[in-house]
Amino acid sequence: MYIKNRKLHEIMGNLKLIWKEPLLLLSILTIFYFLITFVMFPIFQVFKASLIVNHKLDFSNYLAIFSKRYYYQPFFNSMIVGVYTATLGMIIGFVFAYALTRTPLPFKNFFRLTATFPIISPPFVVALSAILLFGRAGTLTPYLNKIIGNYTIYGLGGLVLVETIAYAPTAFLVLYGILQAIDPSLEEAAMDLGASRLKVFSTITLPLSTPGIASAWLLVFIQSLADFGNPMVIAGNYRVLSVQAYLQIAGMYDTSRGATLAILLFIPTIVAFFIQKYWVAQKSYITVTGKPTGSTIKRLEWYIKLPVYSSCLIFTAIVFLFYGTIVYGSFQTLWGVNPTLTIKHYIEMFQVAKDYILDSLTLSSLATPIAGILGIFISFLVIRKKFIGRGAMEFISMLTFAVPGTVVGIGYILAFNQKTMLLPFIITGTAWIIIILLVFRNMPVGIRAGIAALQQIDPSIEEASTDLGADSSTTFRRITLPMIAPAFFSGLAYNFVKAMTAISAVIFVVSGKWNLITVAILGFVDNSRYAQAAAMCNLLIVIVLVALGVIQLVVNRIGKGVRTIDIIG
């Protein structure tokens, strides 16, 4: 009874505190309104569309999906691709992370940059390149035909190949963080007690990084399931959920069937996300302190160096091959037929696709700062403020990170093509729906950056400000914000990259009036106009690199000595 009373007392106390700061209360309510309208409501609409037919609860969609191979096969296909990609990606990521943290590999920065490059490129570039290299008119196809006979790049093999290249960097970043956080003196201690290099690895390094390995696997699995661009380009007759859901809606105009497929995609993704976030992450022995760890054992036997180094070299060579092909391909007159170099694709690109480029730039530039500010503000509320519903706020805002773009896209067209109590306007077909979608899809990046930055700042600094008479908003503006500015800008950079390269969700909400560069590229690929597609990919990569460079300059200027926050995972 006493405890209950105390708890109640505490809640009342918190309420009182909030009443005294009406601005804080107002912002909390506003954010909840946004989260409910633009995150929860669309997902709810997808569920509703799959379960309610003619205003009645109806399981016929699910019955159809479980009884017809045409519908349930994509589920298994997606899972198979996910498992293969996650496993391969995790292994590559681990080898890379091990090489960079535990060996005297030369040119470490070069390898790190190459290993993370696919993260900032549009998701389907790798698939496009795979077609140029291994497709019917592929450069390497004749040679491969001689070795392994006839094959096709379209299908499971090709899809796993390109997704592995595209998502291994995610695994790398997670494992790099984990391996870096393992104190090298643990490995030294083991070796000191007589363990050989192999024993040190199997009894110390591997068990300590197991939670990280599981995390990396699950994150790649989630990304692979949610991937739309690559399977759209290269899956061929191998049907996966994200593409099938899109085709049901965009091709067959069967919204409820599409929604049901989206739900099938939603469930395993969200399960994997929860396992990752609430189970695996808590099993970790490593407290990531952000402190760089000291030197590691420098002597290394050749039988470790050889496989590790050559794996790194091979993967790096593949990354170069794939992206080099995109550059090279964009200058060829007709790939595989007429290799004369030309710049006509670039000229054509600016003529035909000028509007797409401008739209992409405009909408991304508008969405990015909103997502950034919202993200940093939510992270501030979640980490530093006590209020009822704080847990819910964190939960909902991180949810958008896990939900596949296909589900979100379908949710948005279902939720916003009518006036509702939550939003008394129709925004379908306008620029607003794209901006809002980009904002809420990418916001978790800003939240993560903000949380990471805030956790490194001693709360007593903010308390000192309050103690000297500043209220919450003044403290936030004058004290907190300047300190987390570098994290804010890093988050902004990645937000912009994600906005520019987004495809899986936005493809549902683009319109004749407002369209995006990624959608245009996909269109070119669909029409087998690979050179133009390659040219646009290059333009997109250049834009993204320039944006990253500019923001990096800003961060360097304002945040001397402040660590940039890793923004993936």
Binding site: D183, S185, L186, E188, A189, A190, M191, D192, L193, G194, A195, S196, K199, T203, I204, P207, L208, Y285, I286, I297, K298, R299
Partner: protein, 365 residues
Amino acid sequence: MKQDFLLLKDLVKIFGSGKEAVTAVDKVNLAVKEGELITLLGPSGCGKTTILRMISGFELPTSGKIFIDGEEVTNTPPNQRPTTMVFQNYALFPHMSVLENITYGLKIHRKKEKNIQERAEKIINLVGLRGLELRSPAQLSGGQQQRVSLARSLIMEPKVLLLDEPLSNLDAKMRESTRLEIRKLQQRISITSIYVTHDQEEAMTLSDRIVIMNAGKIQQIGTPQEIYHYPLNYFVADFIGKANFLVGRITKKHSKNLVELEVNGIFLRVYIKQDTFQEGEKVFLLIRPESIELEPKKPNTLLGKVQQTIYLGSRLIYKIEMADTILTVEIGDPQEHKIFLEGEIVSVNFKEENLRLLPYEEIKK
């Protein structure tokens, strides 16, 4: 007892190359007797940890040789050396229990299960970890973690035990009691040990002999008493304990062991241990603060002015202004002495038998 149980010969370690090359360890020679505990003492960056890491095998010397029990181990990998290390941060395996941590090395060496159990039993009793075997390191206090780390190393019965500032993560009180325990334990099992620290009190209480290091070079090797009472140079005298230095000149050599010295116009007789000084040579006169007595002003004595009086209960510290230097004077048990006031002029007496001469050198401050 073997004399050269651990032997370092002309050990050199250079980090980096070209312009960025840093000589961390510079021609170090050291012979450690079996069962002896030697501390490497010096300021941070003096090369003491690098020496330890070369003995353990984690760093390879640039040149020079290392012998343990007559066998050269210079290039032996760390896992094949008869040494074990107690790490500064303990480096306990977080995914293993206390018992698993302690028995890790024996399991790696594929010892029989029965043997492992017996030895674990013994060592757990020895370091006082009974009842905590199944805990994980995270559930232990700092002192307990330290014991696990020690037990994990000792159970291997290494020929040389290496300790890398093992007490630096403990609070002051724990540090004091633990270092006595370590010393007792080390003497009981008479294990040859190399102990790295930057804490002079720790080195004084623990060591059979102390190796004072600075800038990669050994400055002096000796017992705690030798180091304190007969420092070889300014650095050692300054680093160990408190010291006053006056610049003087040798005016006369009475014999091999007795010289006459002029300091600020006053002549003093000083005993020297080794005949290394010449007549007319400029020298440092070392006076420990406890070797100075103050008396009310008297003629024909060194005079000084009391600048500051610091009362510490068991001791009394005076800062005495004398010519162009400030002397620190320490008086034990202030109750038995007259306390001088700030500004008072006093006579300064040196206990002549406690004065030491050191070669003069330019001091960069």
